[in-house]
Structures are given as structure tokens and as C-alpha cells.
């Protein structure tokens, strides 16, 4: 039956995703994947051909179960400020989710800083839609000519802040100290990044206005 063949194929795919996301392509062995996937060493080549094909399949699977930021249709009446707040918060939630299949985002981030052959596909299917969503928000936030001139840089300024807490988490934790870093929870980070970015664009009070905006957001 298909139920059984698909079973080990899926187990392999899931195991590969976790390990690839954690150690990267070259640092993971097919033996380790097969061990976690409870399959024989030959299973990888049987189902996928070779290791790289398995990796590509893993990346594709990762952005198939993609996030909700891809093609957002915003409720009518929302201000761009609200949209940006939701965008940032959802990005962070997906990035910092501890419990769920967290390896999707990890694998994507790894591909983003150390691209392989799967990179181009990933950009078109996953990243560009998200970029378009963000660019739409930015177009609402700032005058048209500025958005044309600096739209990309403004977008990068926003997402880079989000990416930081996942990509450079080890260093940030070492720098701040473990217990103090643990206080930088998701709502606090989302609030900070949102207000920092809005203030930079002249929308919203600058950070010096010491409203402890966390409670305001949640």
C-alpha cells in the first residue's frame, strides 16, 4: 500500500528536515537521517536518488507548509501601522516558536545565509511573497517617491531586526547573559521592533517617549 511506502518516505523527510536545519547540508550524514527516520541506509537513495535531492525535497516541504505572511488580504479599515505590527509579530512567532516544527524556519534561515542550489526556488516561492507583503505596507506608510527610492532598504531594516534574534541568538545570549536574555520574550521584542521601525518612518512616537508599550500591545 501507499500508506506504508509513503510512511517511511515521510519519516525520512521529517528527520532530514530536523537534522539539515540544525547542522547544515554538509555536516549531516545520511546515516544519521536514516537512524532518526528508522530506515535503512539505502532508503535515502531509494526514495530520493541522492543526498542533495533529499535536501531539495526538504526545502520544498519546508516552504509548502509556509506561513500566513505569504499573501495576506488585510481586513478593511486596517491602518498600515496595524499591519506592520501584525507582520512583525507573526514573523517573530514563526521564528521563535519552540514547540512546533521549528525546523522549517531554521532551514530557511540557513539557506538564507549559506545558500545552496535550493536557494533560488526558496526565494521565489517563499521569500518574495513575504517581501511583497512588506513592501505593500511600506508603500502605505511612506510617500511614494521615498518608497520607490528606499523601499528595499526600509524593508531590510525591519526584517533584519526580526532575523537577528534567531540567527545571532547564541551571541546575543552570551552577551546579555542567559537570565536577562530570557526576559526578551516575544511580545516585548515585537513591540520594540514595531515602535522602533514606525518611529524611524515618522509614524508613531519615537522610543524616547517612555510609554511601556508592552501592555498596550498585548
Amino acid at each position: 500500500m501507499d500508506a506504508i511506502q509513503e510512511q517511511t518516505r515521510d519519516r525520512l523527510l521529517e528527520a532530514a528536515g530536523e537534522i539539515f536545519a540544525e547542522f547544515g547540508y554538509r555536516a549531516t550524514t545520511v546515516r544519521e537521517i536514516c537512524q532518526r527516520g528508522k530506515a535503512n541506509v539505502a532508503a535515502v537513495n531509494y526514495y530520493f536518488g541522492d543526498k542533495m535531492a533529499l535536501y531539495i525535497a526538504t526545502v520544498e516541504r519546508a516552504h509548502c507548509s509556509g506561513p500566513e505572511l505569504l499573501d495576506v488580504v488585510w481586513p478593511t479599515g486596517w491602518t498600515p501601522q496595524q499591519k506592520l505590527a501584525v507582520f512583525i509579530r507573526q514573523w517573530l512567532e514563526q521564528q521563535l516558536a519552540e514547540d512546533r516544527p521549528t525546523w522549517h524556519m531554521r532551514l530557511m534561515l540557513r539557506e538564507m545565509s549559506d545558500p545552496t542550489d535550493a536557494c533560488v526556488k526558496l526565494v521565489e516561492a517563499y521569500i518574495r511573497p513575504m517581501a511583497n507583503t512588506l513592501r505593500g505596507i511600506i508603500h502605505e506608510l511612506v510617500p511614494g517617491d521615498l518608497a520607490e527610492q528606499r523601499g528595499w532598504m526600509i524593508g531590510f531594516s525591519i526584517v533584519s531586526q526580526c532575523l537577528f534574534y534567531k540567527v545571532h541568538r547564541p551571541i546575543a545570549e552570551l552577551l546579555v547573559g542567559r537570565e536577562e536574555y530570557s526576559q526578551l520574550n516575544l511580545p516585548l521584542l515585537a513591540d520594540h521592533i514595531t515602535r522602533f521601525s514606525l518611529a524611524a518612518l515618522g509614524q508613531g512616537e519615537p522610543l524616547t517617549a517612555s510609554t511601556s508599550g508592552v501592555e498596550r500591545m498585548t
Copy 2:
């Protein structure tokens, strides 16, 4: 003489730095290092013991020839706005320098997102001083209580923007398009990040004030 033994040792160290920085620890082979360093395969173990010791030595060498942002003594009379502008620009310059031994920064960044045993040393000797410099600037820019509460996050918001253009350059280039991305040169980026961050902190005009600040800076 020492001149000769030190010679191949240094050649090895330099070659290792370049390759480690480009491909990471596990993905680089000692044979490749020795080939570029024009030494025998046994040279690595002869001079350093094993591969990991060579890697550690490489990281230490990287942050020995560290940047000028470590312990800055600012000229008297400088405003914190000026200091931040210089800080950001120097960071970007060191990051995006094409010609010079660019692998120092690359190796550091790699260690920052994929830490190995050398990570702790790197943070204390290299990153923490830079963080302190930035935190000093932030303390001048914003009120004391806010700097205490959100000092780390503000700092992360600033450096994350700088890091982005190095760490995620491949994706950014794919997203923007090669020719358009090439227009994002160093002065433009430095200007944008500086004004974005200053505006976020209520110091300086927000980005919507469409002064094409590039010429103003250079």
C-alpha cells in the same frame, strides 16, 4: 631559523582563515588548507596539533587584528549622533571591504550564527568591547531609564541592520536583482541605517523627510 618555520605556519594560518571563513569548519578540509598554504598535509598537525586547534588559532588571529571600534576614545565635542554615524559606517566598511583580508569579519560572522568552541573567546575579546562602545553611544542618545530598560534591544536593532547586508547578502541580491542591488553601495547604506536609527530614537528627522542624505554625508 624562526623566519622559515614561522613562514609556513603563518601561511597555513592565513590560508585556513580564508577557507574556514568561506565554507565553515566542517566543510573545509585540511588538504585544501595545506594546498593553498603550499605546505604538506602533515603540516597542520605538526604545527597546531589538530584541525580544531588550527581553527581556534585562526579565530584568535582574526580578532587580534581587530577593528577600530573596540575601545574608541571619541574626540571631544562630538555629538552622539556623529558617533553613531561613524560607528555604523566603520562597521559596514569592515564588513563589506572587498579587497583587504575580508575573511576576519566573515569568520566572525560565521561564528556568530554557528558558534563552535571558539565562540566564547570571540565574544569576550571582540564583540563585547564593540557592544560597550555602542551602548555608550546609546546612553548618550536616550534618557537613562530607557537605555537601562531597552539598551540591548536598541543596540540589536542597529547592528542587525548592518549585519544583514553581509549575512543575508545572497538572498537580498536575488530579491532585489543584481544590478539594482549593486547600487546599494556603502555610503548609501551607512546613511540609511544611521538616519533610520536616529529617527527611531527621536534624534533627527524621520525618513519621510525626503532629503537625499547621501550627498550630505559623503
